[in-house]
Symmetry: C2
Subunit: 396 residues, 2 copies
């Protein structure tokens, strides 16, 4: 059973099956709507090739008067040229007609097959039905989270309620993960909502910082999608004003984002191990992150983990080609707490107990660089034959 998560005050959600996915029973349309105008900010894919919804959202954000987000799964509306952009704008206008606002106040995300135009007829019929199902209950929030899914096996939600000043503020989010079936495209989408009152500028900076330490610190297969999007909406319904300097809010926001990001790793296609990589002692955080990502994305490291093999040579050498200068004599490595490599030399540890610790399915890699104070925690999964099978099945 999915844990119960509630929406922040003043938000409603809905999930609806409008027939974009081949199975007409499957939810494929999610709506998140605020009863009042929200501050809104977004963080988007760094890919040069971006889906039409990303182009539309980038133009509209940050803004002070957002009212809602529409997400469809089953079709990414990416690589669809000007028609795709026109379609995305049209979709937001349909939602705006239902909730009585300007089209520009509606944001849009799409995930699914690439290179196909959106089925506008199905959306035209489905959007009013989805709008009439909008509800502030936990069930509606869960339905919206389900409607975002592609090959995710579980819906992904997280929430925190914290006390700030004179009252309570809630932050809740839903996301979908990186799972792919040919010819579909992985996409990471998340919507995070809060009933705090914040300026768009404060919201944007809080979101960028939270994403840098959550969604930007995970990798399943290093393939940055055309449509990755994280949106944050703040409607102020709690009456609590949060300024950009609030540590409590920032921490809670980061926790929500991290919880969502880690759900993506735990649900990665074919994955059997959940891997945490801590790089410390780098000159700065950016260099630590570059090393962590290099380790996380090495197929040789990933397959060693699949086999519960404490193959430290693969880890150290993956760190070594990250493009960050360091001296191997200052480099040490632990696997699940066992020191396997210390200051450039093998410790000669028995591998059996290390391998046994890896068999739990949780692997933690601690890499010390010895150059400074920069640190980064990064999460990934292993690479299994099942991942290959799922992504090489010819389905067209």
């Amino acid at each position: 059973m999915a844990e119960e998560h509630r929406l922040p005050l003043g938000f409603r959600a809905a999930g609806y099956a409008c027939g974009i996915k081949s199975d007409p029973q499957k939810l494929d349309l999610a709506l998140f709507v605020s009863e009042r105008p929200c501050a809104a900010a977004g963080v988007f894919t760094q890919n040069e090739v971006v889906g039409a919804p990303v182009k539309v959202c980038r133009e509209r954000l940050p803004r002070e008067t957002a009212r809602g987000v529409i997400i469809n799964s089953g079709n990414a509306n990416a690589c669809t040229g000007q028609t795709g952009i026109d379609d995305a704008v049209w979709v937001t206008a349909q939602v705006a007609g239902q909730i009585d606002c300007a089209a520009e106040d509606v944001l849009v995300c799409s995930t699914g097959v690439i290179g196909h135009f959106l089925p506008l007829d199905k959306l035209e019929a489905g959007i009013p039905s989805a709008a009439s199902a909008l509800d502030d209950g936990n069930h509606a929030f869960l339905a919206a989270a389900r409607a975002m899914m592609t090959t995710d096996t579980v819906p992904k939600q997280a929430s925190r309620t914290i006390r700030i000043k004179q009252g309570e503020v809630t932050i809740s989010g839903a996301c979908k993960g990186a799972a792919m079936i040919a010819p579909n495209m992985a996409t990471m989408l998340a919507v995070v909502m809060t009933d705090a009152r914040m300026s768009p500028a404060a919201l944007e900076s809080a979101l960028q910082q939270a994403v840098d330490r959550s969604f930007n610190c995970i990798s399943v297969d290093q393939h940055t999608s055309t449509s990755d999007t994280v949106l944050l909406l703040a409607n102020g319904a709690s009456g609590i004003e949060v300024d950009g300097g609030s540590q409590e809010f920032q921490q809670a926001l980061e926790e929500v984002c991290r919880e969502l990001a880690l759900q993506i790793i735990r649900d990665a296609e074919g994955a059997e191990h959940f891997v945490t990589i801590d790089v410390t002692g780098a000159r700065n955080r950016e260099e630590a992150a570059r090393i962590a990502r290099s380790v996380a994305d090495s197929p040789l490291v990933k397959t060693a983990i699949t086999g519960n093999d404490p193959n430290w040579g693969r880890i150290v050498s993956a760190a070594g080609y990250a493009g960050v200068p360091f001296a191997e004599e200052e480099c040490s490595l632990t696997i699940n707490g066992h020191a396997v490599y210390e200051r450039g030399a093998p410790t000669g540890i028995e591998e059996g107990p290390v391998s046994a610790a890896m068999q739990t399915g949780d692997v933690s890699i601690g890499l010390v660089i010895g150059r400074g104070e920069g640190a980064c925690r990064f999460w990934t999964c292993d690479l299994t034959a099942e991942y290959v099978r799922l992504n090489s099945e010819y389905t067209t």
Copy 2:
């Protein structure tokens, strides 16, 4: 049957089984020796963590008086600290004693398990035996190529004889490829020899250019080894002087290097498809290469190819996250000659015939960026469940 390749004039080779590998019948010691002093140059791994032999060779190259190369497989002598360096130097001295030169005139490469010290007793006994087997015949050259192998399934050799000025010059090389079994480390090693007479400086620049267009344009799994090394020796035994500007020599050298590099891709672990990626229309060669490498290293592109799936969305989006700016409206893509994406829009081609073309095992991807004249040809293979199986088997 392996093709017959001959050594350039004045070179001898040997392959010997000295017992470093667990199977005592397997060749694990290769010698390449010139009867007279050679000009020598090398190109090495860019990894921050490098094997001891790389450190020793880097210090000795370029040089005018090299006499030979010793290569052992079965042990990488990497991550072995100062002891490893001392051992590598000792090995060159043992060879020098056999062929009557200074230790500094002998180069050394090692490939195999990482983090273990070389078995000096076995080398001490094996080196004299290998030296006494030195021969200028094709059989000895083939034995040396075999002795370099780790999990390669076939020995890899290439040669060209060209007419320059008043006579003939031969360029011949052998290499081993990127194939891994836990806990071993992939390593790409190549030795190329010529009987042309060249200065070390001209040799080094010719080698760097040839490697940039051959070994630096292949990737099996993006994991740069600690020990990658390409050595080029020129002993002048043909009597033909080649200066740095010789186009014929440069072209023949590139052909030998490319032929060796492509043998590595064809023998990559678990690979079922040989993939050629041509990126054209980039602003310069470096940007074209960056895009090509991003496509080659995407697990999603590789698994689509495994399934003969002409999944152009994965290819275009992998190009998009290479860190090279371009506009998708200027981007076009062909797969095995079929136009699947043109100036930012799908061509709507039937996928059946494209998939059928991919089933031949040879896949060619043509990506046009539309920004300039920069081009790069890059080679890779697919990612199969067999690759995962081979690299996740727990063998320690």
